[in-house]
Symmetry: C2
Subunit: 139 residues, 2 copies
Amino acid sequence: MERTTRYSKKRADILAAIRGTDCHPSAEWVYQTLKPNHPDLSLGTVYRNLVFFQERGDIRSVGVIKGQERFDGITTPHSHFICRHCGAVMDLSRTELASRIDRDVSEQYGLMVEHHELTFHGLCPTCIHNQKHEEDVLS
Amino acid sequence: MERTTRYSKKRADILAAIRGTDCHPSAEWVYQTLKPNHPDLSLGTVYRNLVFFQERGDIRSVGVIKGQERFDGITTPHSHFICRHCGAVMDLSRTELASRIDRDVSEQYGLMVEHHELTFHGLCPTCIHNQKHEEDVLS
DNA sequence: ATGACTGCAAAGACTTTGCATCTTT
DNA sequence: AAAGATGCAAAGTCTTTGCAGTCAT
């Protein structure tokens, strides 16, 4: 009945890779990043561990961006900004929303709200710059 | 240079189908819904028109839920609730967030915020009920 | 030894796209 | 007639999964 979890260097390194970056990586990014140190790493293993860590609450999905699911090693409440051009994901501190918003919505609509996601969309500083440059070229 | 848009009953019906439901449909849903009246409709046409309507701002993506992208025919600001069990998407009126939040975040972080998304996650009334029933059965 | 974890490759699910055909203007 | 829109099917991308072998306990 009990499922015991066993130690594996690969598993540990996958989690460490996600926690050690703020880029909100995809499965592919984790795979490519660990490949040098784990030449025999398999993408399937990465995917299986992403599921494993999500179920344990160690990581969270940030959603699917440009076709790839992205993950976050930080599980405390915060918001995100996603650049519509390059797909970059940035953390924003959550100062705007009261923590009671989940409870309020639950009561108002008769739902069981477990958490919420506040995501901003637009252009990141880099893409703002590049877009301006592109306009100059075109004009 | 100008690209002219031509009238097509299928295109019109695809948009009407999305606007005529509050289920935030997937491509597959649109396809199955229109199939009776358009026996020769192709999934490719649905996908192409979804892109077309998004570019024109007629519809918006709600994100990828359980592997399928979902769309919203309502483009005025509002929030969503997504049931983690059945994937249902519900509209919530946006009363919580001031409209200036986008500008505030833009200034604070040096980004170009174009819009934001506030999404609640949890269990919908139906799944709350079914989950209770399931617990009864298991106990 | 047992059961968990992994590599590999095949399979799956969803979406995109090339090309010939049909349609709107 | 010209250019757009569609059907069909192939291809593409990302993710999941079956199975045999490996590894931690």
